[in-house]
Symmetry: D2
């Protein structure tokens, strides 16, 4: 197996990839952009790509949403959640943040640790690097850099001294990643799955989006993410990218997707795959009692049998 991911090495995307069983020992090739990672999968240069799709603070990752919605079909086979946390790594001999005078890191990381930095290392001057991994390299290579802020994985992959862990201002930020392959066999249903679809909005009328959502709601199918993205054909023309709880092997999900297909035949099925929790957390199965009796697999099967019997009455 050859994996690719949005690089460089040591960023949160590689952390996500390392959650995939076997990935730690497989070949992992960083890519310079989401598009280039996905192109490697499409071309066969890589078997699978890990890319970010959604951030609890910044929202949907447009590059990913657009890239998997168009072009050659791809399939999501897994998801991974990574808490967005930062470590403060320092030069040997520094044991007090208040003595740090220079700190190298990426702009986003600096923005997310600024509160902590102002309080705990008020003298530190910020030095911009192109990634948190690059900031850590500066610390290793340049004498005038006292510290760097980097992801836990970068700290772990390099000979760095961690002075403080978890210095981010928002302790709950999470990024969600998806593992994408060329279309192939579906992961088996686990009881706690997600299904991702891309649905072009059929027409511009008051009920168009409602007609789509009704297909899910009428079958007790919960949505965990919905994003509108422009089709590029002028203001007001959208497609929707949706994650729903459940697996296409479950009758209510299959029936909802069939309903969507009738309304919007160009919809794109991007996969059914196990829902993930944060590392160390147990994945919670869909709350079964919340599936109304008439939307269970048993109810669908009984109804289908009944209709078949009615129709079998033809001489």
């Amino acid at each position: 197996m050859i994996y690719t991911y949005l690089g460089p090495a040591g960023t949160f995307t590689e952390s996500a990839l390392l959650q995939v069983p076997g990935a730690a020992d497989a070949e992992r090739v960083p890519a310079s952009s989401v598009n280039s990672a996905l192109e490697r999968v499409r071309s066969g240069a890589a078997d699978a790509a890990m890319v970010p799709i959604e951030n609890s603070v910044e929202g949907g990752v447009s590059a990913t949403l657009d890239a998997i919605a168009t072009g050659h079909s791809l399939q999501i086979v897994a998801e991974a959640l990574v808490p967005i946390s930062f470590d403060l790594v320092v030069r040997d001999g520094i044991d007090d943040p208040s003595r740090i005078r220079t700190v190298a890191t990426h702009g986003h990381a600096w923005a997310q640790c600024r509160g902590w930095a102002e309080e705990n290392m008020p003298q530190a001057e910020f030095m911009l690097s192109s990634s948190t991994a690059a900031g850590a390299m500066l610390l290793l290579e340049e004498n005038d850099v006292d510290a760097a802020i980097c992801s836990p994985l970068v700290a772990e992959q390099n000979p760095l001294t961690v002075l403080r862990r978890g210095i981010e201002d928002n302790a709950d930020a999470v990024t969600r990643f998806v593992l994408v392959r060329r279309p192939g066999s579906l992961p088996a249903a686990t009881g706690a799955d997600k299904t991702t679809v891309v649905i072009p909005l059929p027409e511009d009328h008051p009920g168009a989006l409602m007609g789509i959502l009704e297909q899910f709601a009428a079958r007790s199918v919960n949505l965990s993410r919905i994003e509108s993205r422009p089709t590029g054909k002028g203001l007001g023309n959208y497609f929707f990218s949706v994650d729903a709880h459940g697996h296409v092997d479950e009758a209510r999900m299959a029936d909802a997707l069939a309903g969507l297909h009738r309304i919007s035949p160009d919809l794109r099925f991007l996969g059914s795959y196990p829902a993930a929790g944060l590392p160390g957390e147990e994945t919670v199965a869909v709350d079964r009692p919340s599936v109304e009796r008439h939307n269970t697999d048993a109810a669908f099967a009984a109804a289908a049998r009944w209709i078949e019997e009615l129709r079998a009455r033809h001489a």
Copy 2:
């Protein structure tokens, strides 16, 4: 074939039965009540029963609605519409309604012709008979009866002189009848069909009836009749008797029925059968363009194939 129908002979129910191809030459046994007609079919004493189900002035015929909703299953295989019209038949020698002094008929018939009678035969005194056929018999047998008001069929079946046709006050009254058999093969779809179902209301909450109607509306299935009837288990407990345009062989009808079955598994399918027009009128096919593209058989078939392909991806 042995037919039974709500008697006595000559009433509108027999007119309805005579619209059935072959019934004119078959054995026709009048029954004293709707229940007794249906029991003859259930027991095998008759092959089919013609009974009234709905009147454009009086509404649903409760006896029929209740009798086919409970007990051993029956199946509607045809419907027939009969205009409710009355003839004035007279004793030989009477050629002017104003000279009529006595007129025999059933109470309902008298009620529906009273306006005409007051204007055209102001001297006529009403004599009550147990049916319009019985009134016509009085005219034949009794010397002091000048006239009778009866159905056109009674006038035709007996040696009676018709002085005026169509003396009813409301010229548009229509009664709808259904031909009922023991469950067997389904009549083929014609493109202008009806399907009748009996649906117990699942629960007493604001959306219960709406949940039922949504199954039809979401698939562009029109209803032509809806009646609520008590289940006998206390005020507020209902079942619904519904006629919908379409045949169970059509995908949108089958899908609507399957949805109903999931909500209310005890629903009773009473048949899909050709829609009828008034005698002499052409039956109008369902307005095909009004079936939205996403509710056509083709859309259902394409969606079902798509789902099958998705699920076939399992190794």
Copy 3:
């Protein structure tokens, strides 16, 4: 106050009327039909009429439903529930039902006690009377009548010996009655009220009835009765007669009625009035927690204030 009611005296309708405070001491005039009772109110000959509207076994009372839906407006100001129960009254000297040889009563009463009669008075021959009161009169006046079956009120109002109480086969049958007046002031809201409306179905399309029901469901308003009745303008043309839980003084009911008025401007408001329980039972208030937070009076008031403030921004 002059009350009228569907007669004759002693029937269940008079029992219903006697539940009205003050009616026991007021003038009570029996009428020969529902229509004639309501006409007395319309003409001013009576102040109020008690008429049956719904029976737990037989369903809606068409005569009442149609009469209050058309003609000069009337208003329902109260409802009453009466259990349908029958007493066996006997000639002096009879103390064992098995010795009864003749029993007089109305056809409906006989039908509802036949099971008990076959078991307990197998020798009894049925003599038809025009009402249960008339049957009791026969017992008082004719020597060859051993017994009568009548309502408890008839037994109480006449010098009759009751041998058995409650001989009906279905112990739970209930009839619901409404007290009707000329339109006037509304009864105050009690927290457990009903509102009755008559709604012509606007158009024959799949969503027409759904559009009506949505007005209730979207505001958490429960329906306790829904009946379709023909308008007389041909098969498929209906109006709906609906009872809903709540009072027009409650915001969610007023908003639902306003929505109905927009869809079907010819709807007829027939009143908001206190819900009744069976005699001796406490009336249960609407289950308040079942009204969703966004459908409370407070939520409606807050939303109305907010809109007013927005619109007040105009210079």
Copy 4:
């Protein structure tokens, strides 16, 4: 009046601002970010800010959507559409694109003109600048720059020679901008208006978003834009930013907003303002016939009067 806008000068945002009557002669202060432009308005340092909200190719502008959804309230008072078009400006003496060896511009502009460039100026090497205005400055100041790609406004505001107009690959790209002020009086309704609201999703259940959309659809209110944005409180927690056709002065819009307020009382009204067309195009009024009869102002007014009369019946 002091206007601010997302700078620098000459970009499409300034073009949008110049569509505002009077803005051409008013003070116009560029801001370095959307947030800083809006803060100037909040603090009173500027009277109004023009900021981008939506691009037909790139989608919603998150910075704007988030900034107007939180913090001190702001109000949208106008919108402006600007076609995204680029000019090729050149050094004196160059009259053939194929001879251009170096071209300076912003990365986005380069991306949107690359197809044209590869075909028409295959020798040109791309030189990155921080904005298209900065690229044009390079052309004016540096001898080794042959050409620049810039917005038409930059070309017009500077002493530049335009060799080609409209070299963008996608001729239909449009960006939509909004003019934002501190909350104050509402622009009058014109018959072709938009209303913008921010709606926190009340709960995570299948029907939550549907409940919101129903408020619009039930009143025939069309949506022209819907975006989901994270609240920052973890994956799956959203608010929706919505543009709807109509003005709060129209009854159906006011009723829809009142319905939303009941469901989601923390929603934020961001204004009703005239809908804009592209420069030179006439603005199209809402297609009035598409507003169903029951959602007209007249229907709402009639329903409100009817309810008032019912309630006035109280003694």
